[in-house]
Symmetry: C2
Subunit: 345 residues, 2 copies
DNA sequence: CCAAGTTATGCACACGTGTGCATAACTAAA
DNA sequence: TTTAGTTATGCACACGTGTGCATAACTTGG
């Protein structure tokens, strides 16, 4: 079948060691010899056996990404596919391959993964936060095995490397945008304050309000679940008292649809009477009426960062920061087109 | 670091060959020896080196999935993640690992992929249809390298293995559902008749209409592009002439939003006056008002089928069918809740 | 012209596992 | 008891590549 390094050596009239050295630039080889070797490689259409290579130098040059059924529903739209593409791209750039492995908690993922990494097929592994648990982290730590977590690890007892959206900054950016548009009384609607990302967003939200001299009203921070109905109910309540908010930050695409419906039923006009920003930039943002301003994250870049961080950890024990946070961008759409105060016409 | 087969052999007082045979059930080994070997393995926490194994028997036991930036936008929501999970699951079941590789057309994917498979790291590869091209297929065919295409290959000059949604059946199922609900004059709105999946859907649409004795009206088959505006325009036209349709099958989630808006503006009530089915089962279907009945595909299963087909091709030259089509299910929502003709109340 | 240094290359072994062949130990048949 | 057959195991080599060490060929300085 395929030619080996020995075939090339024979044809070029040298030993296979010399060919190996040429392949890896490991020693000074005379130009003439190199030339003979290259033309032999070409003639035989030689391609190095990656498996033999990995094996010989005891380095698989491969990282893994653990996935779970959970990813399908938890992550917003193209999150997964973009992130995987980013991971592959960064890995490829550093001459690593990417494997995908099952990290389901169901059949004791920890043991499966332990076996996997003991099998020396991979140098390191990336986990979505939804998969990790204490026993897994403990095991990885004990074995001193390189890993990176996608998302903010919740109750880790050990220090871990992780990359995530900068949710504090997201909260700030949302408030900043609304204030620029002229909104002042800004509510925050969360789909669960037990979730770290909501805690972080609220922290940023408060910080930016303070920065702008706006007093924080805890009544404007409301909590529900990730459904249209929950979003609708909460919005109705917010809009029915006195001191009604003139803008709303919503952590979730389902809830924000509920908000639109509530406003519509109450005859409150978006964006003139109510500005809306959603923290999830899903296709629904463009398709709703009005379309909804949202916070976007470069999920491709998130993958790049995750892989780079992991590879850094693999090749080089010293890694600067444990966490790596990506900022979000405001994508302005119809739900925040409020006229500036005092604008003409 | 990790114990090797030789360490186990030494501890158990046998040769490494014997240990290897026990590991692979390759020969009759006395129970007593087996016992000694197993306890030695346990004591040393032996895990076979997968890399060495693959290398030694010249079989990487690995399949690859090619991905592309394209996947991020082309595929509906959780398609990718579910399918990948399915592929991994089926691969794992047959003791294969899954690698993800970059199949971008940009930097001559064909050459990259050729190098990859010549590197003997993988046994076969799965491509999304969006990536394949003639030169790639030709190369794979010449090398007789196992592969499966996810989607319906368009202009393949060679016979290929592929798995896809059964779009003919989808067209039939949509019509069937609408007829059961009492609709009779059914339109079809496509986002491009050059696309094979639309051609197939239309074929099924026509077939099912005929089957139910409904004459086909070519004026009811309209073509646009994948935007809200296009869907809105086409719907307006359809609803403005005489012989107005009472139902509409829409190939795309953006267009169907346009349809809802057009109906809304014209004061046509969905589902009473217009029934709607969308061929894309995206989150928008649930979030719109009314929610939209759609055709759903088990994308997890699609991944399973793809991997199974590929592995079948790898292990066993004989594979029954070239194509493998998965049926769709109708998920009934608000847009087709028309009362049955003659129903009471 | 010789010694010391440099350059270019080969030899032989290593990596961890699998396997064909040889063989020792045992069993059953004659 | 001998022979043929069976069972259990070891030996040695293979897979393709990488690499430390040895060494031949060549260069340079005195």
């Amino acid at each position: 079948m395929g030619a080996t390094i020995k075939d090339v050596a024979r044809l070029a009239g040298v030993s296979h060691s010399t060919v190996s050295r040429v392949l890896n630039n490991k020693a000074v080889i005379s130009d003439e010899t190199k030339k003979r070797i290259y033309s032999a490689m070409e003639e035989l259409k030689y391609v190095p056996n990656d498996l033999a290579r990995s094996f010989a130098n005891g380095n698989p040059s491969t990282i893994a990404l653990a996935i779970d059924t959970g990813n399908a529903s938890d992550y917003s739209n193209s999150f997964f596919s973009n992130t995987v593409f980013g991971i592959e791209t960064a890995a490829h750039k550093s001459n690593y391959s990417l494997m995908v492995v099952n990290g389901s908690k169901s059949h004791d993922g920890t043991e499966d993964i332990e076996r996997l990494l003991m099998g020396k097929r991979i140098n390191g592994i990336i986990f979505p936060e939804s998969i990790v648990n204490k026993s897994l982290l403990k095991m990885l730590d004990e074995k001193n095995f390189p890993y990176v977590i996608l998302g903010h690890p919740m109750d880790a007892e050990v220090e871990t490397d992780w990359v995530d959206i900068d949710n504090r900054q997201a909260g700030e950016a949302a408030v900043k945008h609304l204030i620029e548009k002229g909104y002042r009384r800004i509510a925050f609607m969360s789909d669960g304050n037990d979730k770290v990302f909501n805690q972080d967003r609220i922290e940023g939200y408060k910080k930016e309000l303070k920065k702008n001299g706006i007093e924080i009203d805890e009544k404007l921070i409301v909590e529900g679940v990730s459904t249209v109905e929950s979003g609708k109910e909460l919005t109705e309540k917010l809009l029915s008292g006195k001191d009604v908010p003139d803008a709303l930050i919503c952590s979730n695409d389902r809830m924000v649809v509920g908000t639109l419906r509530a406003a519509n039923e109450k005859g409150i006009v978006v964006p003139e009477e109510l500005g809306i920003i959603c923290c999830d930039n899903t296709p629904v943002m463009e398709l709703s009426f009005p379309s909804i301003t949202s916070l976007n994250v470069d999920t491709y870049k998130l993958g790049i960062k995750a892989a780079e961080k992991l590879i850094g950890r693999i090749e080089d024990e010293m890694v600067e920061d444990r966490a790596n946070l990506l900022p979000t961008d405001v994508i302005e759409r119809g739900s925040t087109l409020k006229k500036m105060k005092g604008a003409g016409i």
